[in-house]
Symmetry: C2
Subunit: 307 residues, 2 copies
């Protein structure tokens, strides 16, 4: 057993998928899950995801040797304040947040003023557009990357334990500077997500179209964006607000490039468009070669999602 | 048998998927495929997709009672000119193009000055990001919509035959005014595709990032956009150039909405973002309820793509 008592704060898609792994693979002796949402706790209980289900921070935190924040990022500060009251010295504190500078700053500020606990940021880069404990599944993490972002207060032992935990979940583990993490994620995740939300809004709002028609023919491409834009609103709002500067900069870049493309269309510059489309096709090939989009894996995820 | 001799012009993803259906379901007696690309013809021959494989328009057109344009839209005019030389009176002319006003205008102008043939525009709204005859498969059309855009020269008989043909392929068939078709497709297909190309270009061009890193963590969301942006460059260039005005208008709408969202982030207007994200989540539900995104169907497509 890697841990005696683990506490997962927030039992949503990621929290519940982690819970499944911790139990199935005997990574912890006792697993506690905390959620302020009664419905999520009830669902988790029905699914037998843990040993302790609570909306009482004290009950969850007491005697835990690892605590993982898995709530939307903006709630980290408030939760950390509460956790600080009951946490024992030496406990490993980690998280699954998609923005690392903000979330770790909040944790350190409210929970670790006296350097009593050991903080190691974590971000398992995996997910589906669904949310809630009923939509998690244990193979969600398989073959994906988990990024740890240790700082000067992280210990090698804690990093090793977290590495082992995520590897047991099927992940490949990498470490990264947290500022760099936030920059990379803004590009590969936050900007694409924002664009998906934005375009679904635009298309839905067009006048002179019937909503029914848009939905009916959504297989033309729109559908794929609705899938992405079906993701958890609270989680994403928090990500955009807490990785603000980088996201804002990337939006500007994107708009510049889109306007250049708009100009290509207006002036019939087919060659320039063709060159870009050839480049993006090559990037697609790189993604496939890096095994980051495998039909085999997607199929498995879809099977899980159908259950 | 619905037709005696069918000719498919262009044996790419859609052309070859249609060919598979026409043969497997005994919809035609003789199937000819024309392509100016020798490689595509050779691949089709190997796959036994047709009875006649030719890069000679005359050979393909002679005695055909149905001809289907399945090349990129900008080639329609030139091809129509050639087809006109050999086509017999009464032949049904249709196509699979994603832009209907431009393509039918080209066909009518070059091929049907004397109203000798019967033109009925068609658009099977189906596809994957792959191209070429080796990537087609017969169940591609199953459960999807095919839009026919008849005009004053289309006959009820021709419309009925095309309807039957696409229904045999597994499609649901709808008719629509061609201007309205181009407007709806700009929203549900052309704009989303353009945005995907654009964002993949933006992210790939960012300085201060390693290309490898972007690819490695692409499962964060970027990956889904690369899938869309891996689509055929020629086909899409032609679509943007020939549905220009509508696409340009929608780009402007999209940029406006994106800038509004950018402003929400800058001024910490989390509530406004949350409202939009809730709305897009609802639209996602509508798409699923309309059965336009079914894991079962996607799974089948992925299985076909793996073969």
């Amino acid at each position: 057993m890697l841990f005696t008592k683990a506490l997962i704060l927030g039992i949503g898609l990621i929290g519940s998928s982690l819970a499944r792994n911790l139990k199935e693979k005997n990574i912890v002796q006792t697993l506690a899950v905390y959620d302020k949402n009664k419905e999520n706790l009830d669902k988790s209980k029905k699914l037998a995801l843990a040993d302790i289900y609570t909306d009482n921070i004290k009950e969850g935190v007491e005697d835990a040797d690892i605590i993982i924040f898995a709530t939307p990022v903006c709630s980290f500060g408030e939760l950390a304040k509460e956790v600080a009251k009951y946490v024992k010295a030496g406990t490993i504190i980690s998280d699954v947040g998609s923005v690392k500078q903000y979330s770790l700053q909040e944790i350190e500020k409210y929970l670790n003023k006296e350097k009593k606990v050991i903080v190691v940021g974590g971000h398992p880069v995996a997910g589906t557009e669904k949310s809630g404990p009923e939509n998690g599944f244990s193979s969600l993490f398989k073959g994906r990357w988990c990024i740890l972002t240790p700082d000067e207060n992280s210990t090698p032992e804690a990093i090793a334990k977290l590495t082992e935990m995520w590897e047991e979940c099927g992940m490949k583990v990498d470490t990264m500077d947290m500022a760099h993490h936030d920059k990379v994620m803004a590009a590969v995740s936050h900007l694409p997500q924002l664009i998906a939300y934005s375009i679904v809004g635009t298309v839905a709002d067009l006048e002179g179209y019937e909503h029914k028609e848009i939905i009916k023919y959504s297989a033309g491409g729109f559908r794929d964006f609705t899938r992405i834009a079906g993701s958890d609103p609270t989680m994403w709002r928090d990500i955009f607000l807490t990785n603000k500067q980088t996201v804002l900069e990337l939006i500007q870049r994107f708009i510049e490039d889109l306007i250049a493309l708009e100009r290509n269309i207006r002036w019939d510059e087919g060659d320039k468009m063709f060159d870009l489309f050839k480049r993006t096709q090559k990037i697609r090939k790189d993604v496939i070669e890096a095994k980051q989009d495998q039909p085999e894996h997607e199929k498995r995820i879809m099977e899980e999602m159908q259950k």
